[in-house]
């Protein structure tokens, strides 16, 4: 079924190009044009029960039937049936293409008028109208023709046009002072069987009179609006084979308020064609025929045939053709003896996938002209199943261009207009060439996760609306909360690189925390305390800082600071958020002794930095590299020794043993100035030796080779604090 995919390269090229804005048709820019309100007035008088005399052959099954059966006689529809069918087809197309704000008020007229629905949106469906029409039933031939007239209906139509629609009401309320900008225009389509041109004139005069009266009435009422413009479309229906008693007349102005046109049409398919043309004219529709749709028959799966399907849609989908004068080239053909024009677009393989973002300049709802035909329903079902298809516009030159796409969204089919001209945005500078383009460690995956959490979903309008805000405002508020502390690059953050922080980080951004959430957050904090106690390594980035980066206790200090920053931005949110912050502040506080030690440690670092500044970079760097290599080895050792360390009885100071072994020797040497070869060598030997034996506890924790004695006495105090922390859990 796939045609050879020769179009592939062209297609690929097209979807990567970028194109400019289409011109907007000014005619579509009025909310309250005559098209906003349409009153259908259908004659229900006894003469409408007359036969249309278009015969419908019923006896198609003759061949297969056994002999001796009397063939069915052909039947014909009444004028009323024809009128109802065609007007309903008008409504069907209208509702398909404009589900909103193009309203119909259906009125039936005999000895009195029957209004079948209102302007309200919920009354606007063919289903509603069909049920109402079924209740009305066929015209009663025995009714007194004297008291029956379409006039009742026409008067009711004018009255109805004065009534406000929901949209008019809403806009008037919104505009307040400038409510006069809301116009009231409308159209009356009258399907009747008139007696003569004089009769038609009488009807027109009557409408004109009613208009004047109603406008006067409306001037003094809040619920009614005066009509500024009314368009009467009178369709005279007469049976096949009879002469038209009424002559066609193009649109003419009867008064500044009223224009009128007369169409004299034979019942049956002529009437159907006429109303199809009218609905296109009235609602700016145009026709597109999709050709070469490959279909296979269910019963003969191996054979395939190409079908054409005609669709109606807003004419703006052809705007490009109109403007470029390409209509002929676009494959426009005249059908039904020049009454109707359609643009031909060719079914195109390959099909497109939905994850591709096409540059689309318009999407217009469609309605198939022949909704019941087999090819038509085959196409619509295909699309409703979620598949999209590209359409190509044949050009005179023989070149092809993909100009449209058919696609369904939520059970509605749209004709998308794809742009097919050169882009004014071609060859833009790449994002990597601009600001921030050289940075390579963006938290792309994390932000992706952030985006997933901040996806949108339709919220029912009836849902409770906290603070009178729209759901979209709440979505923005959520974005605000989620980004109060959000470092953009990996090297700017520690906590977001730690799996252990995830539960807290996910919860703290919530607007309200449950008691359980607080508990989870606290657990996370205790877990971190535990990690610190065990001296677990942190994923601190060394980018930017030179060499091996900060020491472990410094790392933890950075981590705690960052965590505090994150939680602080939310602490004001609720009492429970505050409790999480309190927990962090309480847990990270250290006994003064430990703090002191940290300070000393920092001092050491300072000293370490100093020789750097004295222009001894190179040997230093090498020394660093060496020590870095050693550190790697030591780190492994450290992990092995972890098993022992985990024992609660083991004294704390031992923890830092291996690393301090190198670091403590170095500074004393380095402080003297440039590092000599001897110093480097001695260092190496010392370090290598230190790995062969267990260092004395005192030496490892010494500062400048001076060790404090009886440290464990003070450390016991420190342990107490930790235990208190645990107790509070």
């Amino acid at each position: 079924m796939f045609r050879p995919c020769t179009l592939m390269p062209l297609f690929l090229l097209l979807c990567t190009l970028v194109y400019p804005t289409p011109n907007r048709d000014p005619s579509t820019m009025k909310m309250f044009s005559v098209a906003h309100k349409t009153a259908f007035v259908v004659d229900h008088c006894p003469y409408m029960a007359e036969s249309s005399r278009q015969q419908v052959e019923c006896d198609v099954l003759t061949k297969s039937r056994a002999q001796g059966v009397i063939p069915l006689a052909p039947v014909s529809k009444s004028l009323w049936t024809c009128a109802v069918e065609c007007s309903m087809e008008y409504c069907r197309i209208l509702y398909d293409v404009y589900p909103l704000n193009k309203l119909i008020n259906y009125i039936v007229s005999d000895s009195e008028f029957h209004i079948l629905n209102t302007w309200r949106q919920e009354d606007q469906s063919t289903h509603e109208l069909m049920s109402a029409l079924a209740a009305v039933g066929p015209p009663n031939p025995r009714e007194d023709p004297e008291c029956c007239s379409v006039l009742h209906g026409l008067v009711a139509a004018v009255e109805s046009l004065c009534k406000l629609t929901e949209l008019q009401h809403e806009q008037r309320t919104v505009l307040m002072d400038t409510a006069e900008r809301v116009a009231n225009r409308g159209r009356i389509i009258c399907l009747t069987n008139a007696k003569s041109d004089t009769h038609v004139r009488m009807l027109e005069d009557c409408i004109q009179e009613t208009l004047m009266d109603q406008n006067k009435l409306a001037a003094g009422s809040d619920r009614l609006m005066a009509i500024q413009q009314c368009e009467l479309v009178l369709v005279h229906i007469f049976p096949m084979g009879e002469d038209a008693l009424v002559s066609d007349r193009p649109k003419k102005e009867i008064s500044p308020l009223l224009t009128s046109e007369v169409h004299s049409v034979r019942a049956g398919r002529h009437l159907a064609t006429k109303l199809n043309i009218l609905v296109q004219q009235h609602f700016d529709l145009a026709s597109t025929t999709i050709t070469n749709i490959p279909m296979k028959e269910e019963q003969h799966a191996n054979t395939s045939a190409n079908y054409d399907v005609e669709l109606l849609h807003h004419r703006d989908a052809h705007l490009e053709f109109f403007k470029s004068g390409d209509l002929h080239m676009a494959g426009s053909t005249s059908r039904d003896s020049g009454l109707k024009e359609t643009v031909t677009l060719k079914w195109c393989t390959p099909r497109t996938n939905s994850v591709e973002l096409h540059y689309c300049t318009g999407a217009y709802r469609i309605s198939p002209t022949d909704v019941n035909s087999r090819p038509s329903s085959c196409l619509t079902n295909f699309l409703l199943n979620g598949r999209s298809v590209l359409l190509e516009q044949p050009r005179k030159s023989g070149s092809k261009v993909i100009s449209h796409m058919l696609s369904s969204h939520g059970g509605e089919i749209f004709l998308h207009v794809l742009n097919s001209t050169r882009s004014t945005l071609e060859d833009p500078p790449s994002i990597s060439e601009g600001c921030g383009g050289r940075v390579t460690d963006y938290r792309i995956t994390d932000f992706g996760e952030f985006m997933r959490e901040n996806r949108l979903t339709p919220v029912a309008e009836t849902a409770p609306n906290p603070g009178g805000r729209f759901p979209a405002d709440r979505a923005k508020a959520q974005l605000e909360r989620y980004t109060r502390y959000w470092p953009m690059i990996i090297s700017q953050t520690t906590i977001f690189n730690m799996q252990a922080v995830v539960p807290l980080a996910n919860l703290i951004v919530k607007e309200a925390l449950s008691e359980e959430d607080v508990l989870t957050c606290q657990k996370t904090v205790y877990n971190l305390v535990d990690m610190e106690r065990k001296n677990d390594p942190l994923p601190i980035s060394t980018v930017g800082s030179r060499g091996k980066g900060p020491k472990r206790d410094e790392q933890y200090r950075i981590m705690w600071n960052e965590l505090e920053t994150l939680v602080k931005t939310h602490a004001a949110g609720s009492e429970r958020h505050q409790r999480v912050l309190d927990c962090i502040v309480a847990c990270r506080s250290k006994p003064p002794e430990e703090e002191e030690r940290k300070k000393r440690g920092r001092k050491r670092e300072d000293r370490e930095e100093r020789p750097d500044k004295n222009g001894t970079k190179e040997p230093e760097d090498r020394a660093w590299q060496d020590s870095e290599r050693l550190k790697g080895a030591l780190e492994k050792e450290e992990q092995e020794s972890e098993v022992i360390k985990d024992s609660p009885d083991s004294p704390e100071p031992l923890n830092k043993k291996p690393r301090l072994a190198i670091e403590e020797v170095q500074p004393s040497e380095k402080a003297k100035g440039p590092v000599s070869l001897l110093a480097l060598w001695t260092n190496r030997i010392t370090v290598a030796n230190s790995r062969k034996h267990q260092e004395f506890a005192g030496r490892t924790s010494s500062v400048n080779n001076k060790a404090e004695l009886y440290q464990h006495l003070k450390d016991d105090n420190g342990m107490d604090v930790h235990e208190n922390g645990k107790a509070s859990r």
């Binding site: 400019p20 804005t21 820019m29 009025k30 309250f32 052959e57 198609v60 398909d96 469906s125 900008r181 809301v182 028959e297 269910e298 079908y307 939905s354 591709e356 300049t361 709802r365 198939p368 022949d370 909704v371 035909s373 087999r374 085959c378 196409l379 079902n381 409703l384 696609s407 969204h409 939520g410 509605e412 089919i413 998308h416 742009n419 001209t421 050169r422 945005l425 833009p428 500078p429 994002i431 601009g434 600001c435 921030g436 383009g437 050289r438 940075v439 932000f447 985006m451 997933r452 959490e453 996806r455 979903t457 919220v459 309008e461 979209a472 974005l479 980004t483 959000w486 953009m488 690059i489």
Partner: protein, 428 residues
């Protein structure tokens, strides 16, 4: 929006400007001076604009086809020759051809018409063209309005008093009206000199060629950006809502939607979103704009190294296959997404939706899109297998329900046949 510069090279442009100073200028010199200033400005601040140069007298000539190479344009300006009389109609025909050949008939264009206010004499003069507007055969129609949306800027190297002594001003106003009314006539104030011509082109630059700067917000994350081309004001309904809507300079992200859910939406225009470095005081606006002149490389390199939210957003949108829904103003939305061109160059792009509360029927009202955290259970499913989109309409369309239209006689028969296993075709 591409620009066509239409330069009058008729003899009247060579009229000298009376000046007290020793140097003598022709009007042409002034016009060239003004255009030079415009091109320099564009080269520095509006570099992505395509510009072409058309010269005209009684005939027209495309001197430089659409380009971003402003040196070529400058060069062409300095090599202008003088010809015979002014014929604006032929020049406009030329513009129409040039633009449609390059961009088709739907791409909005800016036309900068530089003339001296003497609009030709006799046949072919603007006066004659306008007088005969209605008496023309179909094939000789006046070129205005152009098939493409036009912004017409008429730069008169003359002051308004001079123009009002003849009917020149009226004719130019009529020309502007015919072009669709979007645009402006600029005249020189006071004496004709280099200064006043600079002032006139300065006003044009302010109106049409100043870069559109905005701040893109996503909660507390933000980035200064230039939106190119400038988003144009949009009139939604000239009757109910006649005030043109303008894009906010604060672009607020509302949330995120999968590309498959937003599903090739119709847009009114597309724009590049280029991150820019925060403008330092008293420094040229161009600093940090994505297209840096050579000498500012160090500054742009600096900017390249500090993290920028746009780059992060772009990267994640690209990786995740999502778009960001962005609010442009009251009831006006757009989407941000990653767009790659054929050369694998990738960019952050913003498309604008039609203004209104519900630009895409399959999303429903944008104001009623809320965070998924509000939903009782994740509408996307725990494993992203579901989606709350598209929103289903309350009433099914005719083709989606079992309606029967009996207008055609065959329809009735087919309807009967359905009860007897009517064969159905399908598309493979």
């Amino acid at each position: 929006m591409p620009t066509v510069v239409v330069m009058d090279v008729s003899l009247s442009m060579t009229r000298p400007v009376s000046l007290e100073s020793s140097e003598e200028f022709q009007r042409k010199n002034l016009a060239v001076h003004g255009l030079t200033m415009l091109f320099e400005h564009m080269a520095a601040n509006y570099r992505l604009e395509f510009t072409s140069l058309v010269a005209f007298s009684s005939l027209w000539e495309l001197l430089v086809p659409f380009t971003r190479d402003y040196n070529t344009l400058q060069e062409a300006l300095s090599n202008l020759e003088d010809y015979d009389k002014t014929c604006i109609e032929s020049a406009l025909n030329g513009v129409s051809n040039v633009v449609q050949q390059e961009w088709g008939s739907s791409c909005p264009c800016q036309v900068v018409l530089v003339t001296d206010g003497s609009l030709g004499i006799g046949k072919g003069s603007l006066r004659h063209s306008l007088q005969t507007l209605k008496q023309r055969a179909d094939d000789k129609k006046f070129p205005l309005p152009f098939p493409f949306p036009t912004k017409m800027f008429i730069m008169c190297v003359a002051n308004s008093e001079e123009l009002q002594t003849t009917d020149a001003m009226d004719n130019l106003e009529e020309l502007l009206r015919l072009s669709g009314g979007d645009g402006q006539i600029f005249t020189m104030e006071g004496q004709l000199c280099l200064k006043s011509v600079q002032a006139m082109f300065g006003r044009l630059i302010d109106q049409a060629y100043s870069p559109f700067h905005a701040v893109l917000h996503c909660g507390n994350l933000s980035s200064d950006v230039q939106v190119f081309p400038r988003p144009e004001p949009v009139v939604v309904d000239d009757e109910v809502d006649p005030m043109p809507r303008v894009v906010n300079t604060d672009l607020e992200i509302v949330g995120f939607i999968e590309v498959g859910d937003i599903s090739s939406p119709p847009v009114t225009s597309r724009h590049l979103v280029l991150p820019i470095a925060v403008i330092k005081e008293a420094e040229d606006v161009s600093t940090g704009a994505a297209e840096e002149p050579e000498e500012e490389v160090s500054a742009s390199q600096m900017a390249g190294k500090s993290p920028n939210f746009c780059v992060l957003l772009h990267g994640s949108l690209k990786v995740e296959g999502m778009v960001a829904l962005v609010q442009l103003g009251p009831d006006w939305y757009g989407m941000l997404y990653s767009q790659a061109d054929s050369k694998k160059k990738s960019n952050l792009m913003m498309s604008l939706f039609e203004p209104g509360p519900e630009p895409l029927p399959w999303l429903g009202k944008v104001a009623h899109l809320g965070p998924i955290s509000e939903a009782a259970e994740n509408p996307y499913g725990e494993d992203d297998s579901k989606s709350p989109f598209p929103v289903q309409p309350s009433i099914k369309r005719s083709y989606a329900q079992n309606v029967t239209v009996w207008i055609k006689a065959t329809c009735i028969l087919l309807h009967r046949l359905t009860f007897q296993r009517r064969p159905r075709p399908s598309i493979r």
